[in-house]
């Protein structure tokens, strides 16, 4: 009894420490974003002089707004394409035996492991040659490439959990292979697909390396890259306030995404399919 209570309080302390450790930098940025430029360096955690000026500033900055639009568009398209192809590939990996299956898994693992920095220069040259440089497609393509291994991996794990007999049952009930996949397998894999979609989206959303190297103007530059181009209102002024406000702004979609889909990311959706 006593030992049980002690271990509960031990866990509580550990959790609090971990949460604090993770949250303090985030809160610090949030705090900075609300500070008046004159109090940036006062070292106080709670702003002494509140202002929304930093936010007003970045939203009147056409580059940043354009960057947000680029981020959202590129992120959503990349995620969508990665999920569609990833789902099909993951299904094949989980359910079928076909020649080259091991190779496919190996190659996708290799891609995921590949240091992205080493690809930047070749990609830059290739995209320039193909006219993809500084376009949405020029970012979407590498994003899909790097998001696919992730989606194939996580989704094939989800597909493996689904009892194969369900698919056989669907076939016996008169479904074409595509109907069986679309009407039986996909709804059951939906929580997995949402989870994977979030991970893929976060990957695209957070990327800085490709965004900064493969763009040269507003046309395709995403928000994280735009932030690095922030300047103060005068040459001598630090853009700290704008940067922290922008950092908070680009975090919000991720938080909303996760909160919104959290309910759908529930295990045990397949319970009741088989046996008792």
């Amino acid at each position: 009894m006593e030992a049980g209570r002690r271990s509960v309080s031990g866990w509580t302390v550990a959790n609090v420490v971990v949460v604090l450790y993770a949250m303090v930098p985030v809160l610090w940025i949030a705090s900075l974003s609300f500070k008046d430029p004159s109090t940036f360096t006062d070292g106080s955690f709670i702003p002494r002089k509140w202002t929304l000026g930093n936010y007003a500033g970045i939203f009147t900055n056409a580059d940043f707004v354009r960057g947000l639009v680029n981020s959202i568009g590129i992120g959503l398209i990349s995620t969508f394409v990665a999920i569609v192809f990833g789902t099909m590939a993951a299904y094949a990996v989980a359910r079928l035996t076909f020649p080259g299956k091991r190779l496919l898994i190996g190659v996708s693992l290799l891609i995921a492991m590949f240091p992205q920095i080493s690809l930047v220069s070749p990609l830059f040259q290739i995209e320039r040659a193909l006219g993809l440089f500084n376009t949405w497609a020029g970012l979407i393509l590498p994003y899909i490439t790097f998001a696919l291994p992730l989606t194939i991996y996580t989704l094939s794990a989800f597909f493996r959990e689904i009892p194969w007999e369900l698919e056989k049952a669907a076939k016996m009930d008169g479904a074409t292979p595509f109907q069986a996949f679309w009407q039986v397998i996909v709804p059951l894999a939906a929580p997995g697909m949402v989870t994977t979609a979030i991970l893929a989206f976060i990957f695209c959303w957070n990327d800085f390396l490709f965004a900064i190297s493969l763009t040269s103007s507003d046309a395709a530059r995403t928000a994280p890259a735009t932030i690095s181009f922030f300047t103060g209102s005068t040459q001598f002024e630090d853009p700290t306030g704008s940067i922290s406000a922008a950092a908070v702004v680009i975090t919000i979609p991720i938080v909303i995404f996760v909160l919104f889909f959290q309910r759908r990311i529930v295990a045990g959706l397949t319970s009741g399919a088989v046996k008792g």
Partner: protein, 385 residues
């Protein structure tokens, strides 16, 4: 409704395993056929080949005279009930049952009507709007049945549909499946490894072992005239007693007494290549307490000490140990009987009026004409050839 012909069908898996070897059966329209056999004998494989879930390596499958080998499952118009039920967890009971109709693009009204009718037949009406997770095992089983019958298919294929239910529910569902099949008249192939299910449900039983058909026939025929030792050991509960025996001049010497070689035993002994040492089989039901038999003429007697007595109500089971080694045969171990011990055991099914007591000797009468003789090597029933 259909006649299903399996014309010398063989299944060889990619790794070379021959799961089903030269399976040749003609299943008549309206017939209820049971595929039975020990685990791994190829029952599910056979059923899956009929369903179209597995390719047929050799041979031809015909339904109503039309070749089906290359047809996809959905073009075969058969419904299947799986051992695990395989209900769609994201759909309600209603949607589960209606799913085949939805795929067949049936109109809303007719779908509704058919679902309600199927639900009525299976007492599922109160559960139509629940998800499978909120149902008991028996209810899930009935939903799986509902999904099969709603479409009025050419045939039902069932792969051990009752094996996940508890004993009592199983007996209950067994009767309702039997009744349902009789009233719908749909050709049914039913897989089980339970000999009681096989005996009670089917019009005909196909008994398999290691991919090979051992015998095909109505339950009573398999029981009365098993073609070999494997069938004899598999069908019947408790299993047939087997004892080592020796053929001598006009006599069969067994641990339960000498039996004169007359009638069918005589004919069996005279057959070609009959070895001297054989295996004698006699069903527990062929024994009786000698004091309760008035006309003990046609039969032998044997006195033994009762090891164990089980009163089952309508009968008593008396267990004996014979002073001879147990019969060892590959044909028996696979039949799923109890693991043979060192000693030769005997079970007798006696009338409840019998005065047999545990630890006391009792004199038993047995019907000598009910004795089967088996070839010790091939397992062939010498009395039935």
């Amino acid at each position: 409704m259909a006649e299903i012909v399996l014309d010398h069908i063989t299944k060889r898996y990619a790794d070379g395993t021959v799961a089903v070897d030269d399976f040749d059966v003609r299943i008549a329209d309206h017939e209820f056929v049971i595929l039975v056999g020990p685990s791994g004998c190829g029952k599910s494989t056979t059923l899956n080949m009929i369903a179209g879930l597995e390719d047929i390596t050799e041979g031809e499958l015909r339904v109503d005279g039309r070749r089906m080998n290359e047809k996809a499952p959905r073009d075969r118009d058969m419904a299947m009930v799986f051992q695990s039920y395989a209900l769609y967890p994201h759909m309600t009971v209603r949607e589960n049952i209606a799913f085949p109709l939805k795929l067949a693009k049936m109109g809303r009204e007719e779908t509704q009507e058919r679902v309600e009718r199927a639900a009525g037949l299976l007492d599922l009406a109160p559960y139509l709007d629940r998800k499978p997770a909120a149902l008991s095992g028996g209810q899930r089983q009935r939903v799986a049945m509902g999904r099969a019958i709603v479409r009025d298919p050419k045939a039902f294929l069932m792969d051990e549909p009752l094996s996940n239910l508890d004993a009592k529910l199983r007996v209950q569902m067994r009767t309702s499946i039997s009744r349902l099949q009789k009233s719908l008249g749909t050709t049914t192939v039913y897989v089980t490894h339970d000999q009681t299910e096989a005996m009670t449900l089917g019009d005909r039983i196909v008994i398999m072992r290691a991919g090979l058909i051992q015998q095909i026939g109505p339950p009573q025929e398999l029981y009365d005239h098993p073609r070999n030792l494997f069938v004899a050991g598999f069908i019947g509960s408790p299993s047939m007693n087997v004892v080592p025996a020796r053929l001598e001049e006009g006599l069969l010497r067994t641990p339960i007494g000498d039996i004169p070689l007359r009638g069918r035993l005589g004919r069996a002994a005279e057959g070609p290549d009959v070895p001297r040492d054989v295996i004698a089989g006699i069903r527990p039901e062929s024994f009786e307490d000698a004091s309760l038999v008035h006309d003990a003429e046609e039969g032998g007697t044997f006195t033994g000490t009762v090891d164990l007595l089980e009163s089952m109500g309508p009968e008593k089971l008396a267990y004996f140990t014979l002073d001879t080694g147990a019969v060892r045969s590959e044909h028996l171990s696979e039949a799923g009987g109890e693991e043979a011990g060192e000693e030769c055991r005997l079970v007798a099914q006696l009338d409840p009026k019998s005065g047999a007591r545990r630890g006391q000797p009792v004199r038993l009468w047995y019907d000598t004409q009910a004795v089967h003789l088996f070839h010790p090597k091939t397992g062939e029933n010498l009395t039935e050839r």
